[in-house]
Symmetry: C2
Amino acid sequence: MNDLFLRACRRQRVERTPVWMMRQAGRYLPEYRAIRAKADFMTMVKTPELAAEVTIQPVDIIGVDAAIIFSDILVVPDAMGMPLEMVESRGPVFRAPIRSRSDVDALNVADPERALRYVMEAIGVTKRSLAGRVPLIGFAGSPWTLATYMIEGSGSKEFKHVARMMLDEPEVLDLLLDKLATGVRLFLEAQIAAGADAVQIFDTWGGFLTPDHYKRFSLDYIFKIVSNLHRDGAPVIIFSKGANHSLIDIAGVGADVVSVDWTADLAEVRNRIGEKVAIQGNLNPSYLYASPEQIRREVRSILRKFGNGSGHIFNLGHGIFPDVPVEHARALIRAVKEESPAFHG
Amino acid sequence: MNDLFLRACRRQRVERTPVWMMRQAGRYLPEYRAIRAKADFMTMVKTPELAAEVTIQPVDIIGVDAAIIFSDILVVPDAMGMPLEMVESRGPVFRAPIRSRSDVDALNVADPERALRYVMEAIGVTKRSLAGRVPLIGFAGSPWTLATYMIEGSGSKEFKHVARMMLDEPEVLDLLLDKLATGVRLFLEAQIAAGADAVQIFDTWGGFLTPDHYKRFSLDYIFKIVSNLHRDGAPVIIFSKGANHSLIDIAGVGADVVSVDWTADLAEVRNRIGEKVAIQGNLNPSYLYASPEQIRREVRSILRKFGNGSGHIFNLGHGIFPDVPVEHARALIRAVKEESPAFHG
């Protein structure tokens, strides 16, 4: 088994830097689009064979060092009783958003073994197909990030209802976050039990918050998850986008890896938290539009920033865009594989 | 004249913290919507009497301590030969974006006295109407931020063409940024000559860049503007959104004020750069959806973060949203006026 990814998560010696890409099972791959043409997004997510197939595609096609189960962070609220719809051109929509204490009370703490069984089945199918070629990552949204979608009812720029609830009725928000923290923890444990070799917590909207509110409403609940998680040796990765102001606190919640976007300087990040955690990142996903030569240059620059030794997992600072040429994605993976051995001498 | 704003920009003693809001002349005001119902956005921008009227509205209606001329950062490319269209639901559009060296060569360095005369006239009308009640701020986009719109042709999430040009043909991008730096400098000088008491450079998309590329493609050109600017005593404010990673460098380009969004902790910011520059910010604009009581609490928390003494201009970390209740905007201004004297004892 190629266990570079797992070894790097644990800051153990590796021969080269492992690499995978957020949203690597996605529309930039013609093979993905072929399946997507026949099934809608949620059907793919809820059909273990389809989910497994697209999960493995980037391993076969571009050669990443880890697979991540094809799913969506919003399956958790869906399982808690908020039916998720994917609306063309609008994205995810919850028709009945959470606006009051009684809305929160009406939510089930998801029993992942039942309501999210399809994810665990997809993990099982994927693991059998992968047959140990690369590790498989499970994931979930952070309580805060899930709450923003559940309260707004869809993606948002203004965060109107979230801001109102946070400041005017923090006790209701806390109740919601607490339920989510339990649901997410159980879900991550079920994924690990089903075969996930590592798990990542996506906190996409951490950057909406001031540093104080980030700690209070996002990181504290991530801590609650991580510190109670029966992880059975599986590394935990935290990605709080836009929260570089709190790196030291993030590194302190007990996760193995902290993922950072491109606004962080990896040398500085390693200097601040590299003794405590491995670091994942941090190529700007837009840079994949440039030529393969320039992609290689950027890869070298990031590898140099991190410097010699283990504890780095190469990744993007956000998901790959759907119209990036496959050849460019492949060029990225190739460049990391060819350029990184020099940093593990 | 209420010169609290100008004194705070210069870190001189003030009796209370001055306050204004980015996008304060905007749709959240019924009086603005009444004018907007009769004239489209660009007509308002290009008609000095209309621009002056909406510029002054927030001074009269909610009591801000500074006015900012009603305009748009994209008037500069418009004046350079790229006609700007405001398309409903899509925002600003340039039909013929910049994609090559010959596109850049074809741009005029705007002669602001001619091509942007309407801005200077609006400043003149506004100054006469204000009659010294509060200072008037002029502004421009940063070369980098203007370039992103000119290259993409509209607002963008992927920054596809920008990333390509930046990495594959940096010499073309430099040529464009250089022209823009000259045009922006001349434009800011013309605004100051027409009566602007201070100027702000909006670098809305600084956060798209890695720290190294931010310095190379955004901050260096801001430095070029600031260091060559005949400012006649007018303070210069820099707002590079998402570039908190480079605060010390930003504070070093020679501006008087650095504006920060809500992801910065003002105590830390003051600690790092407060000896060199005044600091503007940093309420999360979404927090204005909360109740007036909670808005006041957030105001107090920000004032406490900055601490005692001058050098703080209260503002939002981004423009006010169109559906914020006027009463909440007024509550913000009132809270700053009532809570801040305690910090200037």
